[in-house]
């Protein structure tokens, strides 16, 4: 275990369920208190769903593990109530440098435009993310976290799932409506259901090391192809909080795991990178060989798979943890809406329809990065080296240099929940995409107003055009008891309440620009802040239709959804 962090211990406590004469029932059980399971449980808890989170251990992750959290993930953490702590503790970075040999060939800025609450990335050890989410979970009524509760059996049937749990005081049985498997790359739930987890393994091994040192390097990502200090392989350097630095080194396919992870091997390598004079201490080391794989289905009846239990990727691009948290973000509101009978069960089929293409996208990106970094054949190496060579002189070749295409939120372009554009939008945020942020005149950020329910943004270049009839019709719009919170977005100089609708004043015109809304527009957002539909001119009926569709109520879709749901 790293020495730079003091590990909390969450004690096992006996629960009343262990003494119940028949298995206690819970609406939702989440298996695994990693970042994804915790995000899922906190999200459900905040939506008022009684949720039980089971974890086999009694502390947070051993080692820093996932360290890069992307802008969209930070926005989700904001909604869950842990964003500020994570960003304050984390190291913010937007810039990266790519070296070939010892020459800098390329520098990039991931967030070249300002006017976003959150940066492109923060680096923070996974144990802090878990630590903060566990604390947050403790503040939520109806969210029960049980440590040293290992799931040893899962039996789904048509009405629910029976779960057998092992504790230090013996086994007990539970029932739930929905089981969420967030139990990681070696998912036990996956094994209990006998589901194959197929994909592609990469031969190369990587040594990941966290070291503690006080060094005056900037907070940026540095990647080396063929560095002189590491014998033709690749290397990556990242800064974390607490003066901890992450170094990834590619090893040969046949390297001996044990030997390579030993201090006798790692310390000379680190000295070669950092210089003989730089004092440092090794905090944590791991040697791994990675795979890209995913389940064929992310849902088996009432069991849902999220995060690494559903899909794994190579680490370059930070697409594992970020995608997992976006899985939870996608699924939590849907489960809540179905359990509260505000949406038909068909809505749940959209989890796979949206997150399987997202997983495939992440696997494709990460496999391509890996192939670029570790050429598998003579021809691969020739083209890779040609690109690196040309990149020094030509910008076009820099765009081919692939040291990891860093995680961006997936756009659910083909989602059954989208209502396609009926009018022309040249740019802006298309249906299926996550909301874009923008600064507001009186402080604060657009993204924070969207919250965790359905929301509408009514872009009005002249708030006078908003008539009382449509405003009050909008306020009454609600599907199955789920209302839309509507905000008027007004340009600077056009402040003031409009028919009791709250007004967000667009500082510097960025919101109008980012949403292609100069001619007026209405955007409908889902509870995960993705766009469900957009309109040039606001009419109540199409908005109502889009709301129904976003809840899986669209009649033209319901037949196919029902088949997928039970298939």
């Amino acid at each position: 275990m790293p020495k730079s962090y003091r590990y909390p211990v969450y004690p096992y406590r006996r629960s009343a369920d262990q003494d119940a004469s028949s298995p206690a029932h819970h609406p939702v059980i989440v298996v695994g208190a990693g970042p994804v399971g915790l995000s899922m449980a906190v999200d459900l808890g905040l939506r008022g769903i009684a949720t039980l989170l089971l974890d086999e251990d009694d502390t947070v992750s051993d080692g820093s593990r996932g360290i890069c959290f992307a802008k969209r993930t930070l926005e989700i953490f904001d909604r869950l109530g842990v964003g500020d702590r994570i960003v304050e503790k984390g190291v913010t970075w937007n810039k990266g440098k790519v070296y070939s040999g010892d020459r800098l060939i390329y520098a990039f800025d991931l967030l070249p435009e300002s006017g976003h609450k959150r940066p492109a990335f923060v680096n923070i050890q996974q144990y802090y993310i878990e630590d903060y989410l566990i604390e947050r979970a403790g503040e939520i009524d109806g969210l029960d976290v049980r440590w040293k509760n290992r799931v040893i059996g899962v039996e789904p049937d048509a009405d629910g799932v029976t779960v057998t749990v092992e504790t230090p005081e013996g086994d007990y049985t539970l029932k739930c409506d929905y089981l969420i498997a967030a139990d990681g790359a070696k998912s036990g739930v996956r094994d209990f259901l006998g589901l194959p987890f197929e994909g592609r393994s990469f031969e190369e091994q990587f040594l990941i090391t966290d070291i503690v040192m006080s060094a005056d390097f900037p907070a940026e990502r540095r990647f080396w192809f063929n560095p002189a200090f590491h014998d033709g392989q690749s290397a990556l350097l990242h800064r974390q909080p607490d003066d901890v630095w992450r170094i990834d080194l590619q090893l040969d396919a046949d390297a001996d795991r044990e030997a390579e992870g030993s201090p006798e091997r790692t310390i000379p390598r680190l000295k070669a990178i950092l210089g003989e004079d730089q004092p440092f201490e090794v905090d944590w080391t791991s040697v791994y060989r990675f795979r890209c794989a995913r389940l064929e289905h992310f849902r088996e009846g009432r069991v849902f798979f999220v995060g690494d239990a559903a899909h794994i990727v190579s680490p370059f691009g930070a697409r594992g943890g970020n995608a997992g948290i976006q899985d939870a973000d996608n699924l939590a509101w849907k489960i809540a809406a179905v359990l509260e009978r505000k949406a038909p069960e068909a809505l749940l089929a959209s989890y796979e329809a949206e997150r399987i293409p997202a997983a495939d996208e992440n696997i494709r990106y990460s496999a391509r990065s890996t192939d670029f970094m570790t050429p598998k054949s003579r021809v691969n190496r020739i083209f890779r080296d040609a690109v690196l060579d040309l990149a020094e002189r030509f910008a076009f070749a820099r765009r081919m240099v692939n040291s990891g295409r860093l995680s961006t939120p997936s756009v659910y372009s083909d989602s059954p929940l989208n209502s396609p554009d009926a009018e022309d939008f040249l740019s802006g945020i298309p249906p299926g995409a996550a909301a874009a942020d923008a600064p507001l005149k009186h402080g604060g950020w657009l993204i924070d107003h969207l919250g965790g329910g359905f929301a509408g943004l009514w872009f009005a270049s002249d708030p006078g055009e908003i008539d009382a009839a449509r405003a009050s019709a909008l306020e009454r719009l609600a599907a199955g008891g789920l209302p839309i919170r509507v905000f008027v977005v007004a340009p600077e100089g056009a402040e003031g309440a409009v028919h009791d609708l709250p007004v967000l004043v667009d500082r510097g015109g960025l919101a109008f620009e980012r949403y292609d809304a100069s001619g007026g527009a209405f955007y409908l957002f889902r509870p995960d802040q993705h766009v469900a539909a957009r309109f040039r001119r606001l009419e109540i009926e199409p908005v109502n239709g889009a709301l129904a569709r976003a809840l899986g109520r669209d009649k033209s879709r319901s037949d196919t959804d029902a088949r997928t749901a039970h298939g």
Binding site: I382, F383, D385, A386, V387, D389, L390, F394, F396, A397
Partner: protein, 71 residues
């Protein structure tokens, strides 16, 4: 969508042929392949639309494989 043109449109075919072979003068096989890779990348960028180069790759591969069947 740009398409690969296979019309007869090269202005100085003999000069180009000579330049193609001259560029490899004195290079090892490894260096020759490295040169070809750079030329492909530079020309692909000049063309811009990746689809054109992808179509050229497909046709070139077909031509090479046809040989294999002949033999």
């Amino acid at each position: 969508m740009a398409e690969l043109s296979s019309d007869d449109r090269l202005d100085r075919p003999d000069d180009l042929y000579a330049a193609l072979t001259d560029a490899h003068e004195g290079l090892s096989e490894e260096e020759s392949t490295a040169l070809d890779a750079r030329v492909i990348l530079l020309l692909a960028n000049h063309i811009g639309a990746a689809g054109v180069t992808i179509e050229a790759l497909r046709q070139a591969r077909e031509s090479v494989l046809a040989h294999r069947e002949d033999g």
